[in-house]
Every structure is written in C-alpha cells, then in structure tokens.
C-alpha cells in the first residue's frame, strides 16, 4: 500500500477538444480520493508534451500512438506504456469511397486520388501509407491529397478526416483513409448508406497510451494503475469521464500493436519531433 501523498503526480495531455478539461478535472477529482493523487497540465501539441515528459516537467503523458513511438525512439526504448483505453488496443484505419464505386481492396486506389488526414495522424496518414506500401503501392502510384487540418494533434480532433470525407463526397477525391472512430461516428444510424462505404479495413493496432519514464517509481505506477483500472463504467461519476474520453474501461497496453507504426515511422522517415 502506498502511503497517501500530499504531492500529486503531474499528467500531461493535449487539448484537442474543449472536453479535455472536463475529462481531466474529472480524473483529478477521482484520483484525489485515492492514494495516488494527480494533477494535470494541457499542451497545445504532442511535440511539446513529449518534450515535457522527457524533460521531467510531467510524470506521465497521455500520448497518442505516434507520441508514444516518438518517446520510445527518443528514450532509446526506456519509456514505459502503462495503460490504454479498451478502444485503443483494437484501433483500425478504414479506406472509404463513394458508395457504388466498386472498390474492393487497396489495389483499387492505384492511379486514383486518395485523401489523407493530417500528416502526423497515424490512423489517417502514416499507417494508411504504410499499408499501401506493404501492398506494393508506392506514393507515386496514387495521387495523394494531404489535408493537414490539425497538425500537432496527431489527428485527435478528427477534423482532417472529416475534411477528407468531404473531399470524397464532393468528388475531389476517389477515396479517403480515416480512423475507425471517425468511421463509426459518421455511420451511426446507417445514415451514410448509399453515400460512402468502406472497402478496406486495416489489421488492429494500438493507439493512445499513458507513457512514463523510468524516473517514475514502479511502486507508485502500479498503485496508480490499480486505481485507474478500478474506474467502473457502472459508476455514474466514473462513467461521465469514461464516456467523454471514449472508453468503457482502462486496460493494459498492447505493445505488439505498435509494431506497424514503429516500422512506418522508420520507413517514412518521420522526424522525432513534430
């Protein structure tokens, strides 16, 4: 049992939506009632957040998959992933086109116009290109339309993906690559039936994860994780936070799920800091 501490650990997160404040105020309130209190600080972009983690300004970073991989590379593998959302360990990228185009796989985009999300979005730019490359489709085999609507936030706002979808609807692009969360959001109620359809879904990979450096004691981290995993969807107070952050429960990270992104970052020469 960790004795109650009067000094909360500091968690860094990126302000990608107004609701982030509500989420972290809720998290802080929840952990105030535990032996592992936290406070939080918000950053405008993931580059700053990773810098703050490595610089010791924050104890933990709520990282995207790209931010985790960058931290991993900059710390030469010393950082640790601690926990993810249940939705993070089954993330996918989705290729979509107008309904009725007959696209039936990645090969269909050869020679076509493909809209991608922000260039630092793993789900809507980096990994889709990686999947194309693995399928033997090079950058010169498609006309790429990069929509950098929210660079710095690693696609978290979803804005660039919505812009990519608009490009498809407006016939400025033949296909778009988006994250499965955006795909699920736009297809609620099956309203996109007859307008947009998916023609390829990627294997599952890992997305966001709490990241710590070795300076954070294992004992504290384990106690904090026990408190984190105790958040309960059936508890209305917890649920309000979980719902806003897009999960039903916190889970251990799936480290294997970062392999495809690590390979993509290396192959595409993604810089350490963005």
């Amino acid at each position: 049992m960790i004795p109650a501490s009067t000094v909360p650990r500091l968690i860094g997160s990126v302000a990608y939506s107004p609701n982030v404040v509500t989420v972290w105020e809720g998290m802080r309130a929840y952990f105030t009632g535990t032996d592992t209190p936290i406070d939080f600080v918000l950053f405008s972009n993931y580059g700053r957040l990773v810098d703050a983690l490595i610089g010791g300004t924050v104890d933990l970073a709520w990282n995207t998959n790209l931010a985790y991989v960058r931290t991993l590379l900059q710390t030469k593998g010393a950082c640790r992933a601690l926990a993810s959302r249940d939705t993070d360990v089954v993330f996918q990228s989705v290729f979509v086109s107008r309904a009725g185009t007959g696209f039936d796989g990645l090969e269909a985009v050869r020679g076509r116009r493909l809209a991608l999300g922000s260039r630092d979005s793993a789900q809507a730019a980096i990994l889709p290109l990686q999947y194309l490359h693995e399928a033997g489709i090079g950058d010169d085999d498609v006309t790429l339309m990069r929509i950098d609507s929210d660079v710095g936030k690693h696609g978290d706002t979803g804005r660039s993906e919505l812009d990519a979808l608009r490009a498809v609807l407006d016939d400025r692009a033949d296909a778009a690559a988006i994250g499965v969360n955006t795909w699920q959001a736009i297809t609620r109620g099956e309203i996109m039936t007859g307008a947009i359809e998916s023609f390829w879904m990627s294997p599952e990979y890992s997305h966001c994860t709490f990241t710590a450096l070795p300076a954070l004691s294992t004992e504290w981290a384990e106690a904090w994780l026990a408190d984190l995993f105790a958040m309960d969807w059936e508890n209305p107070d917890h649920r309000a936070i979980l719902e806003l952050e897009g999960l039903r429960r916190w889970v251990p990270p799936n480290l294997d799920g970062y392999g495809s992104l690590i390979a993509a970052v290396a192959e595409q020469g993604i810089p350490d800091r963005w």
């Binding site: 939506s17 107004p18 919505l162 979808l165 608009r166 736009i186 309203i191 996109m192 806003l244």
Partner: protein
C-alpha cells in the same frame, strides 16, 4: 437529395464545443426544396439518436443539436419533486372565508365547481399505477362539501392522503364526517398564519385565528396527524421562530410545520411571481381540467389540458412540458452566459 456533408459539418462543430453546449446547423444548405430540407433534418435526427447527441430543436431552416445527451431533467429533481409524485385535487372552490391572499380567489361567493365524488374516486384509483405516491385534497374549504368523508375515503383506500382545511368547521355533521375519516392514512393540514390573532385575522377575517387554533386542538384530540401551514408575505418567512415555538406548544411536530410565501395569484395583490418557467409543477386537478400547480389553479397561463383521464396521460403531459421548459431555459443560458 439528402446532403450527407451536413453530418460531417455537425460532427466537426460538435467536436469544437464542450459536452452540454449546442450548435445551430443550417439544414437548407443552398436548397429551397422543402422535401430535401425535411430529408436533411431526418438524417440529422437519425444520427443524433444513434450517436448519443440530442436534437433539441428543429426549425424550418435549421436544427439545434446538443453535444451529448440532454441532461435528464426529471432525474435531476429530488424524488419528491418529480411531477406527478403528488397529485393535488381541488374538491371545490367555495369557502367560508374570504382571505385576501387566496391564490384561487375562494370565498363564500365563489362558485363551488366541485370535482365530484366520481372523478375523485377514479383519480384515486388511477393514481398509484400512474406513479403517484400521495394524494392531496384542497379547496376552497373541503368541509363545506356534504360528501367530503366519502371523497377522503376513496383516496385513503389507495394512498396516503392530506386534506387541507381551515379547521373552522368541525362541528355537528361536519365533525361526524371528520370522525369517519381514516386516521392511519389521512393527514389534516390546517391553515394558521401567526402565533397571535392579529396577523391571521387581518387576512382571514375576525375570530378566524381562535377557531383555527381550536380546530387544530380538536383534530389532535381526535387522533389525527396534523400539519399546520402558514401563508406569509415573503419578507416575513424567515422571522418565524416565535410562530414555530407557538406551534410546538400546540403539539405540532417541527416536520409538520409548513411555512410558505404569499404568491401573486388569485386574490393576492402582490407576492412572489410564479410562472411555468420558474415553478416545478405539481399536477393539479380541478373540475375544469389539469393545471400546472395548485398555487395557480385559476391562472389561464398555467392551464395544461381539459382532459383529466387517463391520469397517467395528464401526468405525462405535465412532465413533457416541464422538460421542454427546462431545456428552453438551458438553451437561453447558453445564449446568455452570466460571466
């Protein structure tokens, strides 16, 4: 043809605002075709239902969507305040007194407008299945009715019941009617405004205080649970310690002492202003129909509907209107932030 891009616009805009805030989305999007606009609205409504966002208003040219579900207005209330938990019935409007602040202008000259034994019995029967937990009979002065004991019996047979009275008529046949009432299921709520006669009599008439106090004593002696309710100008409602001490000497328990402010309704020339926007409803039935609240049962602006039955429908109607008012107030708050 439906414009799917509207959903993309909506998701984008919702992502930029905090949960609980609203966005107004133009659904015409360059078209004047009424069918196309209706299709756009249908699509937005379908998406909102499926995505857990709330379509709170639909106009001919735009929709208002709340980020996330609308707060459950009823769940936010104390269980006792949920409309329909208590059912008020005006048995009659005539009264032996002519109080100058009566919220429904009762007096000896007022028409009786009796609800009647049949309707009271049916209301009592339908009440519990409709979620009502307490029945409250009021007037006018209910003891003017020759069948008040039957009305009360039909209520106490189903639910705990409170009967409001001025306590001044417990004599002769009326006393016998009182004695026939179920002491286990009935609470008598007797009106008394002050610890001494002056204030009470000034509003209710000479010697009314003395008779009300006597009525309280009689009801207690008869073994009834007795509440005492005072109606005071709002500025006096915090200066009640001497009055409460007096009620204690009469044997009225603290939890049975009710202090309420004069409302600007009925015969009252002034008092607190109560509107459907500011008043949590308490479903109230009169001979004329269903009203928002017992304090405003003659205020046309607070008339809900003529159809009393089925009672469950009447309660549902009041709840729907209440939720609508609260949502409108929330939207107004969105538009007019105070800081």
């Amino acid at each position: 043809m439906v414009n799917h891009g509207l959903v993309l616009d909506l998701i984008d805009r919702l992502g930029r605002i905090p949960a609980g805030s609203t966005v107004t989305l133009d659904v015409m999007s360059g078209t004047a075709d009424a069918g196309e606009i209706a299709d756009n609205i249908d699509m937005i409504a379908t998406w909102c239902r499926a995505s857990g966002n709330a379509l709170v208003e639909s106009r001919h040219d735009a929709v208002v969507v709340r980020h996330g579900r609308s707060p459950d207005t009823l769940a936010g209330l104390h269980p006792d305040q949920v409309p329909g938990t208590r059912l008020w019935m005006y048995t009659n409007f005539d009264c032996n007194l002519h109080c100058d602040y009566c919220c429904v202008s009762s007096s000896p000259q007022a028409d009786r407008r009796a609800l009647g034994a049949d309707r009271v019995a049916r209301l009592a029967e339908e009440a519990e299945p409709a979620g009502v937990r307490q029945l409250i009979l009021t007037g006018g002065e209910p003891f003017l009715l020759p069948d008040i004991d039957e009305l009360v019996a039909s209520c106490t047979a189903h639910l705990p019941t409170t009967l409001l009275t001025n306590g001044m008529l417990f004599r002769g046949a009326r006393l016998e009617r009182l004695r026939r009432m179920d002491r286990e299921r009935l609470t008598l709520q007797i009106s008394l405004d002050s610890a001494t006669p002056e204030q009470h009599d000034a509003h209710r008439g000479p010697h009314s205080w003395e008779r009300a106090v006597a009525g309280i004593g009689l009801a207690l002696d008869e073994g009834f649970d007795v509440k005492v309710a005072a109606t005071l100008p709002a500025e006096q409602t915090h200066e009640v310690a001497p009055f409460k001490a007096f009620l204690g000497t009469l044997g009225i328990r603290p939890e049975n002492q009710v202090i309420r402010a004069v409302a600007h309704q009925g015969a009252a020339h002034d008092g607190i202003e109560l509107t459907v926007e500011s008043l949590i409803p308490e479903v109230t039935i009169t001979a004329d129909g269903v009203w928002w609240h017992p304090v405003s049962a003659t205020d046309a602006s607070q008339f809900v509907r003529r159809e009393i039955f089925p009672l469950a429908d009447a309660i549902a109607d009041v709840r729907r209107r209440f939720v609508r008012h609260r949502e409108a107030a929330d939207r107004a708050a969105d538009w007019f932030p105070c800081s």
